[in-house]
Symmetry: C3
Subunit: 153 residues, 3 copies
């Protein structure tokens, strides 16, 4: 049903980011999926770089957050075979590269949270944290990690 929902929304998932060496984008333990922090990569490069509140506005940062969700779903589909095997989104943690006077973190992460609920409905309602970082890998404006629950094998 979630696969169908994604089609209905006109969403095309990117190709899953491949394992990077000593760590992987996703680890499955029992029916819990722990995802590594994911960057807003699109076609191999970051959608934006810099600090939110100075170099990047909330809308652009929000579009980055949506891209991170799409990358996350690609990774989960790669792990499970189908998004229909997702049971729930349990938790996200959003790390935003910001200035010390930026206080609108929730507005940025809402782009991610809302997309998850658009796709998964009530099964997408999650717990979350969002914090301001002084810098992130590759000068990314944000990174998000996720915990999902999948159906039991």
């Amino acid at each position: 049903m979630f696969e169908q929902r994604i089609k209905t929304l006109g969403i095309i998932l990117p190709e899953a980011i491949k394992p990077l060496g000593s760590y992987k984008p996703c680890i499955k333990v029992d029916n819990i999926l722990l995802l590594s922090a994911i960057l807003p990569l699109k076609d191999g490069s970051l959608m934006a770089q810099g600090k939110i509140g100075k170099d990047i506005d909330i809308h652009t940062a929000g579009e980055c957050a949506r891209q991170v969700v799409l990358n996350a779903l690609s990774i989960i589909k790669d792990e499970l075979g189908s998004l229909d095997l997702v049971k729930r989104c349990l938790r996200l943690c959003g790390y935003l590269a910001v200035t010390d006077t930026f206080y609108e973190h929730p507005k940025v992460l809402n782009y991610a949270s809302n997309l998850i609920v658009d796709i998964f409905g009530d099964s997408g309602i999650h717990a979350r944290s969002v914090v301001g970082c002084i810098s992130l890998p590759m000068n990314s404006p944000l990174a998000i990690d996720f915990v999902f629950e999948c159906l039991k094998d």
Copy 2:
């Protein structure tokens, strides 16, 4: 017993923060409770704003950390019906908005950790992380997220 303990300590829990939209303050998966990062809100507004080490001293920040614990317990009580159904506090992660020369993070988070142990005794002893953030939502001086274990249904 934890409900009685809270009364004995003279603690009055605030009303639980209500669900905010695409995310919730608490997600229950099996007998684990994942809490969203909680701010030191009291009667609808932040107890303090600004950076610890510049605008806010350790004691004030510590009082904020205690308030976050009270808010967390309200949320858990709202989820479970009674704090007597808590089994253990497993983990906290404290995010402190600080200056780049502030290094006393543990002293602030101790206010939260000690209150949890005052209430839950040995069942309150937890794992924890505490880090310095460049900014937090609403210019909050801190946010804490929690993982609790509850009794099996």
Copy 3:
């Protein structure tokens, strides 16, 4: 087997950091180990202090990250009795104290990730997040928290 592997690699584990009061270095829930954020303490003091990208170079920070892994393994051995009871490393979260123009976080955390895989092989491949903090306790250049899975009792 992991105990033997550590001997083969010539690694001598430090003594486990002792419980600190209201919190503990490790909490076991079912067969999951949640570790508190661990600092690069060696013989009772930090191996280095300051910000990565200004006071500390990537190699020195990487050596700190390796020390954190050794400290983590000591804590796990103290909890389980033997590292042979480890099943897998599931997740790390690396917190790096950095300047706002430092973007090489993954290079630092690779020192930790690679050491874990050197020791645990395929069972060491984990999910991870790495972010930049404005400051950390004791002016530490980094802290890492871990989630491990152990064999069922």
